[in-house]
Amino acid sequence: MEPLSSFFAVSVILLGIGIYGLTTKRNAIRILFSVELIYNAANLNLIAFARLRNPPIVTGQVLVLFTIALAAMEAAVGLSIIILVSRLNAEIDLSKLSKLKG
């Protein structure tokens, strides 16, 4: 049985990868990937911390159900926006989308 801290380690590494992608990539879809990875890191953390309690509580799992649902909604709306932007501008590179700057 591995200690729970190893689950936190995986979670932190996922968070790091997500932040790395968020800061270095300029492709809108790639940024969505990073956001989803960060969501997953948070979910893993929630479930592992719920197990840390003595006795373990079920609230962590309930919260993760809500988080997953929210992440799915976010992906649906985000991808619709990306499709719309790619139709209007033929481009989804966020550094080149500067029309709103005026």
Binding site: M1, E2, P3, L4, S5, F7, F8, V10, V12, I13, L14, G16, I17, I19, Y20, G21, T23, T24, K25, R26, N27, A28, I29, R30, F33, S34, E36, L37, N40, L44, I47, R51, L52, R53, P55, P56, V58, T59, Q61, V62, V64, L65, F66, I68, A69, A71, A72, M73, A75, A76, V77, L79, I81, I82, I83, L84, A90, E91, I92, D93
Partner: protein
């Protein structure tokens, strides 16, 4: 046995996450993202959260990854491939990531975290259901409003007056 499974799932998750961010082709990136989600679902199973794990598989891999793959194929896998050209930002990110990794090392050495033992009532499916509906009923209603807004918003966004 669990140790081996944990190592396998952790390695798959982290490797696939890196591939998702770094793969040249976005279709490969989306597929790698799906595999990373699968690895996280496996970690959920190891934490005895079986229902949440299958929820994760059905929603993330069944729905979100399909949507992402469709969008990538529609937008074109090669579109938006800008050269990085952000030396300073990526350096900052690398430092941040290594700080986080160092924190991880500190965490792994800490003795404050006990090993996980039997889960008992913390993973009971019926308790989860009761808790979801009795304690989080109001939140569920807000969730339904968010979902309704998301569907209507997404449908309105993807509505086109032109033909297909």
């Amino acid at each position: 046995m669990t140790d081996l499974l944990f190592l396998a799932f952790a390695a798959v998750t982290i490797g696939a996450a890196i591939l998702a961010i770094e793969a040249r082709d976005l279709v490969y990136g989306a597929a790698a993202l799906g595999i990373a989600f699968l690895g996280v679902a496996g970690l959920f199973f190891l934490l005895d959260a079986a229902y949440v794990g299958w929820f994760q598989i059905a929603v993330y891999i069944g729905a979100v990854v399909v949507l992402i793959l469709f969008t990538v194929m529609l937008v074109g896998p090669k579109m938006g491939e800008a050269p990085l050209g952000l030396k300073r930002v990526s350096l900052l990110a690398a430092i941040l990531v290594s700080l986080l990794l160092g924190m991880t090392g500190a965490l792994a050495n800490a003795t404050a975290f006990p090993g996980k033992d039997s889960c008992g009532s913390g993973c009971d499916l019926y308790l989860l259901s009761t808790s979801l509906l009795k304690n989080y009923g109001v939140q569920l209603e807000f969730m339904s409003l968010v979902m309704a807004a998301a569907v209507i918003g997404a449908l309105a966004l993807s509505k086109t007056d032109r033909g297909p």
